[in-house]
């Protein structure tokens, strides 16, 4: 049995009468790519927001590396090694690509109460930033202002920022959102490069990507996990077919 790195225990989140996450329990194992799929409104993005700390949970526990992080604010979870990317591109638009990643590096290299030395000249920030850009294949675009990058490149930058913080677990919220087939294929290659070195929890609508990458898949419907298993098991599962895959499988 593999070691559990992120454990979600009976987690619940309600918005008024709507229960977005409903008594959900899930264990993410170290080193795996765990995809969470489900129809629109299943509570996938809510789950990521709860895990990353941008949204408080109503009940339940989140245990990361053996530590209860349920009550920790987002920035502390990031420091512990729980990184996320966003479904809607969420970068520093007016900074260059390298500045974006350097800021992520800076967040994880001690406090930022340093007032006089020029941050853009610090090799300790720029070198890791360059490396992270290279891992997602953006090194040639390092000095381009983020707002001027193509959509696919901005998505790659999202991943570079998450990876630059040296996370143990990477929460990816629809990394393929809005991408064409060519960009998607490139992103799948980028993510495949993280297999083994990182634990990935991936939310995705693109089924080709999910089945190409995932070691295990959880199907979320109305905030509850109706099935968890290997891709081939999920493909065969009758309940999943009825609830979600239906015509696609």
């Amino acid at each position: 049995m593999a070691e559990t790195v992120l454990s979600i225990e009976r987690l619940t989140k309600r918005f008024g009468g709507l229960t977005a996450t409903n008594d959900l329990s899930l264990a993410i194992e170290k080193g795996e790519v765990h995809a969470v799929i489900g129809p629109n409104g299943a509570g996938k993005t809510t789950l990521i927001a709860q895990l990353s700390g941008l949204l408080a949970s109503d009940s339940g526990r989140i245990v990361f590396n053996g530590q209860d992080v349920t009550a920790l604010p987002a920035h502390k979870r990031s420091i512990l090694g729980l990184a996320r990317s966003f479904q809607v591109t969420n970068i520093f638009q007016n900074f260059t690509a390298e500045d974006n990643v350097a800021l992520a590096v800076q967040a994880h290299s001690g406090h930022s109460f340093r007032f006089l030395a020029a941050a853009r000249r610090e090799a300790a920030l720029r070198e890791p930033a360059k490396k992270a850009l290279a891992r997602v294949g953006l090194e040639h675009r390092a000095n381009v202002v983020a707002a001027d990058l193509a959509h696919g490149e901005q998505r790659q930058l999202e991943i570079a920022m998450a990876i630059a913080t040296n996370p143990t677990v990477l929460l990816l919220d629809e990394p393929m959102a809005g991408m064409g087939p060519e960009e998607s294929a490139r992103m799948i290659e980028v993510l495949r490069g993280f297999k083994g070195s990182h634990t990935l929890m991936l939310i995705e609508h693109d089924m080709d990507a999910v089945f190409a990458l995932a070691d295990r898949i959880t199907v979320l419907v109305y905030g509850q996990a109706i099935a968890t298993g290997r891709p081939e098991e999920i493909r065969k599962n009758a309940e999943v077919k009825r609830a979600y895959l239906g015509d696609e499988a």
């Binding site: 987002a74 920035h75 990184a83 007016n94 900074f95």
Partner: protein, 429 residues
């Protein structure tokens, strides 16, 4: 470290061919020499051009005031242009710095070190308090809360009868003498002695002390240098990131609240030093220093000069006070705000990234820039002349109680709104 030295040389060469750098350098030199015009006779051939401004004591005093307000504007740009914090209460720290002088002065203590320390401590503590509460909000709420706190301080000042209340009180200039080491320096000094002066005028209480001018000048240079370093440091990147995308900053691991609060306190403290200098300049304390109109002025200075540039705030402060002076002189004491308001809106519309952004980056842009400046000055002169001619209309409008105040208030809000609308369009367009 040898490598660092090598990379600096091309940078210096690059800045020498940058008109913006040259303009700043020329401005700094002109400002350092200006008070000396009281002891240097003006050559005859220059009299038609410079006669009006050469060796004029009241103008030297006005420029000193510009330098002091430039310090305040620079400190506001730090949080506004780099932190996205639209503080509509920055005048509070001018007032607090001034009280740092006045409270001691009332009891006959003129020790400048003590007064300056009080001004710094007082403004830092109040900024910490106001910031700690205001920074829990954002957007319009932040604007309104900072405004409300400053108005509270303003009314507190009015009700403080021991320190003159509504009427204010006279203060003495700070004394920085250190007799132990033979240092004998007060902010009341005239650097240029009376005998050498062309007009031979030398009244002790005249607001012509070159010492206050140069103290303000040095403080401004220090403030600009410090803020420029700050915004490019790790700390600066943290507050800029928090302005650009606060959610992402938290997700990436920054506790943004404490960085923003620190920036707010630093800005308040620098502005407190400006307040200390202002009380020395005016030799007077008044709660009006904390009036919301002054907070609005500081916002306008930063917006006019160019947010997020630091240098722009200096240009904005000098520009706005010049405009005020000219309009007050030609349009009249009661109505000039009615003219200034719409003018500000127009300026924000046309120089939408601020005056600093209009200065060319390369030498070949200079001639066109000079043409623009000349056209602007000519246009302004025509406008002011027109306004001074149509004063009956203004008089009629001015007869409605407080109308000039409403006009300036509305104009500041419109200018602010326009500026942020433009900003949001450039980021997402």
């Amino acid at each position: 470290m040898a490598g660092a030295g090598v990379t600096r040389i091309p940078e210096l060469r690059a800045s020498l061919s940058d008109p913006r750098f040259l303009l700043i350098a020329i401005g700094a030199i002109v400002l350092v020499l200006y008070p000396a015009t009281v002891v240097i006779p003006l050559p005859d051939f220059l009299k038609p051009i410079l006669g009006g401004i050469w060796g004029q004591t009241y103008l030297i005093s006005l420029v000193a005031k510009m330098l002091i307000f430039a310090i305040a504007a620079v400190s506001l740009d730090l949080i506004l242009g780099y932190g996205g914090m639209v503080s509509f209460g920055h005048a509070a720290y001018i007032g607090l710095g001034a009280y740092g002088v006045a409270v001691w002065s009332k009891y006959g203590i003129d020790n400048g070190y003590l007064q300056l320390a009080s001004a710094i401590a007082g403004s830092a503590l109040v900024a910490l308090f106001i910031g700690a509460i205001s920074l829990r909000t954002s957007g319009v709420y932040f604007i309104m809360i900072t405004l409300a706190f400053t108005q509270m301080l303003y009314y507190l000042g009015i009700s403080l009868e021991p320190f003159g209340g509504d009427d204010g009180m006279n203060t003495k200039r700070s004394d920085f003498a250190l007799h132990l080491i033979g240092l004998d320096f007060t902010l009341n000094d005239n650097v240029f002695s009376c005998e050498k002066r062309i007009d031979k005028a030398c009244k002790v209480d005249d607001r012509d002390g070159a010492a206050i001018y140069y103290a303000s000048y040095l403080a401004l240079i220090a403030a600009v240098w410090f803020c420029r370093r700050l915004v490019n440091s790790r700390f600066g990147m943290a507050i800029r990131g928090a302005m650009s995308n606060p959610v992402r900053m938290q997700a990436v691991g920054f506790p943004i609240y404490r960085y923003r609060l620190t920036a707010f306190v630093i800005a308040g403290t620098i502005c407190g030093v400006a307040g200390f200098l202002f009380a020395n300049h005016q030799q007077f304390l008044s709660p009006v220093y904390m009036n919301w109109l002054r907070s609005g002025d500081f916002l306008i200075m930063v917006i006019l000069g160019g947010m997020g540039t630091i240098y722009g705030a200096v240009i904005g402060a000098i520009g706005l006070l010049t405009l005020e002076e000219v309009l007050e002189g030609y349009v009249g004491k009661d109505y000039w705000q009615m003219v200034l308001g719409p003018l500000l809106v127009l300026l924000v519309l046309f120089a939408n990234r601020g005056v600093y952004s209009l200065i060319p980056h390369q030498m070949r842009g200079v001639p066109m820039f000079i043409v623009r400046v000349v056209v602007f000055i000519a246009g302004m002169s025509a406008f002011v002349w027109l306004m001074s001619r149509s004063s009956p209309i203004l008089k009629l409008a001015g007869s409605i109680q407080h109308l000039p105040l409403y006009v300036i208030f509305a104009s500041i809000l419109i200018a602010l709104g326009l500026r942020f609308w433009q900003e949001s369009r450039t980021h997402h367009g």
